[in-house]
Symmetry: C2
Amino acid sequence: MARDRKFSTDELFQLTHQLLLTYGYEGFTFSILAEQLEVSRGTLYKYYENKDELITEFMLYEMSQFMLKLKDIHAQEGFEAQTEYLIDLIFKQTTIPELIEIGRHIPNTNEKVEKNKKQLDEQRMDMYYQLESYIQLGRREQRLKKNLPTSLILGLIFQTITIPNHFNVPRSEWIEGIKEIICHGMFLQN
Amino acid sequence: MARDRKFSTDELFQLTHQLLLTYGYEGFTFSILAEQLEVSRGTLYKYYENKDELITEFMLYEMSQFMLKLKDIHAQEGFEAQTEYLIDLIFKQTTIPELIEIGRHIPNTNEKVEKNKKQLDEQRMDMYYQLESYIQLGRREQRLKKNLPTSLILGLIFQTITIPNHFNVPRSEWIEGIKEIICHGMFLQN
DNA sequence: AGTAAAAGTGACACTTGTGTCATTTTGTCG
DNA sequence: CGACAAAATGACACAAGTGTCACTTTTACT
């Protein structure tokens, strides 16, 4: 009964993603977004009360997509294979840690935003739970050193994504190097 | 022949540091800074044309302080001791990587800023050079795995600082864990 | 005590982003 | 066709940061 929208949610989220990575949370504005979408700024307010609402909505979507893939980790046989799967997955979704970091800066500007942020936290806990059982497998298989805190292991794995590759080491060599160090360290055994 | 300043460069830089970490580059304003310094905003413009000039000036200072300490790495005997020294140093200066990251977002708003940014790049290269010789020592001592790219090793060591310690693992346990993983990995040997 | 040089002030004009809303456009359905 | 509901628009009032500058205040020095 009405006319079609000039943009899809997919387009919107994709652009949001790109602009967030380019300009960061503060630099991200409805002005830029509207211009890129070739739509007036006022239009965006028809769908979201403010940028925080849009961003949290987008992040929920992004997180759920990531969680779907993460759940498949349990299809892998054994701790070593799961580790390989996890690192490869993270390097396919390289922006997740950045988005999480951005998410920490979002203020509670209205109830919807607050609700979304709570939901994001729940997803983060769910993610942690998924990975907790992966770590437990490692401990059960006696493959993991006992004294290492779980949160350190997970944090370190996730953080490897953000190491800047200034010298453009080829991607495969880079990822292999990371796996090697995380699993067996940079030192040669004697 | 004139009156004293109401604030010292030290105070200014310390506050700049704190505000940058709290609000990030975009959120850092002369308004907030002036208020905290209990000085009018106009005063700040007497010393810096804009915030980019102040921030780059501050970063140059911070980098040079860090470089001084970094140079002492060569006083350590052997690769393992140097590795220990490096990681401990980084964890004493936890904000260096964050500052470097913030530095990447600064636009060239005037010639002074441009000059400062170039100088920062040189310092970064100098830092790299210092650490390159540390890595070379590791290779010469046959302690380092041959196939690992230098930039990956250095990047990974520096990045460990930014792993969020959500569960408040005690600091010493945290740092020991990081050293352990970087040097020998998270896997038990069989 | 007088003064000049530097420090500091605050008002002004400007820019950019925000949120709102009365109005216009568009396309589908009866 | 025509009407009506959703989509889109653009102008308005507001908020916050920026950079400037004529002016005032302070104080070390003569």
